[in-house]
Symmetry: C3
Subunit: 206 residues, 3 copies
Amino acid sequence: MPITLLRRERRFYELFDRQAGNVVAASRLLRTAFDDRIEAMPAHQAAIKDLEHAGDELTHEIIQTLHRTFITPFEREDIYALSSGLDDVLDYIDEIAETIILYGITDISAAAKSMAGLIVEAAVQIQGAVSKLESKSGVSEHGIEVHRIENVGDTESRRAIGELFRGGYDAVAIIKLKDFYTLLEDSLDRCEDVANVIEGIIIKNA
Amino acid sequence: MPITLLRRERRFYELFDRQAGNVVAASRLLRTAFDDRIEAMPAHQAAIKDLEHAGDELTHEIIQTLHRTFITPFEREDIYALSSGLDDVLDYIDEIAETIILYGITDISAAAKSMAGLIVEAAVQIQGAVSKLESKSGVSEHGIEVHRIENVGDTESRRAIGELFRGGYDAVAIIKLKDFYTLLEDSLDRCEDVANVIEGIIIKNA
Amino acid sequence: MPITLLRRERRFYELFDRQAGNVVAASRLLRTAFDDRIEAMPAHQAAIKDLEHAGDELTHEIIQTLHRTFITPFEREDIYALSSGLDDVLDYIDEIAETIILYGITDISAAAKSMAGLIVEAAVQIQGAVSKLESKSGVSEHGIEVHRIENVGDTESRRAIGELFRGGYDAVAIIKLKDFYTLLEDSLDRCEDVANVIEGIIIKNA
């Protein structure tokens, strides 16, 4: 393959690596914020928002590179899907932080902390899968892990939501916290979507 | 076509037929559970969960077969989409049963029973479409039926949810039952997604 | 290209233009209804429902044309996705109007009016993009606008929902209005989905 084509290809891998790095960083900020005082949440949210903006710019750069590149390392629509998928995870992490402030949630439960920890784990697995996209070897293991993590999160969020109905919460609190847990679980679903896109790329290029 | 290739192709149709059978069986268990005493729900849910696990294994087998097969009866990504789609329907049916227990819903309304009946109907139509994937003839009729059933379910769930706001329900009951009806309707949406994947396969291979 | 093929191609563009016109018309009816007395809502909803039915027929005609046509102006699955996407926007606009009646919402807030205005804006941008699909020039600008409008709507709906938790609303009102604002925002998401499908078509045919 001519050097310039190779460089173009590598450019996509580089951009995806950076975006996966943003996702991991944002998930870690969220997890840290969940252990901090609730008054510090706006500051944490601002830091997450910065990463989300950086992610928007990277997404834009990936799409621009796609427009300028004739031969791509895998199908154009998959580059698009992977890029949107990673961007979605960032958006959800940002939305979680924003929702806490917007809904006036003042107490981060142990269940929520655990789910935020799962988002970090899933993000790290996605980063692992993305870093192996070029060699195409060992990618599936990360996908399997993401599915496992999402399953754990599903159980945890359902248990936490069920708990809300066992008494001790008024209707408004139930509305708020049910949305909050659902959002945490939805973020893991978005991680799973990314894992599915990557799985699809591997299947098509097997 | 050489015998071995033909056998490989047939394998996919067999696996999809079995998965569609699981979906029909799970939907029937749910419909039956809705007529039983509420105390029996955990036992019914356990039976549905077994089918859901069997479905997970079948999904895994389909993906494994996909990895080992070079020439597939239709596009690789459509095999993947159909397989995930059927799995999603199973997951939703399981989630409905689980939600009843988790939310402590004690009364299954006539509207919920009717919607569970629609899920059985849609599952049977999906099974019909899947069974005709190989011959590719008469598939569309099943798709049209799934869309019709989903439309009926949409109207029923919206009416049932509207009813919740006409008085007689406290806020917590509204939260629970709105989620429950939405989940029933979402299951029909997942059936429609499967019908759309099948419709796409037929369109591409017309 | 032979005249008949050209005519077939043009047929798709014509049908999509008409469907985009339906989306714009429905969005305008909704915006107008939001300024009218609440008692007039059923009449407005009936008019929107008529457009939604017309949209169903157009969708059917597009799919039928697809079945009869061997060479299509862009990939078969994208014709299918664009057609479903436009249909979804119509369905959502109809659902917004229906929900107001069903939930017994009696007061349309300034925030809801503003969001309905955004749906009109997004629909007009989609119409612009669809009208340029044949020439494939100047399409992206409309997509960028749809993304911008969806972002504004996202902020507005989140602010409106946050407002519900600042007091003055009982739990049932919160449930109703949170659904209502979410539905308005979801409609903008469906507009963004259409913009993404169009963006995908442009990327693949660049």
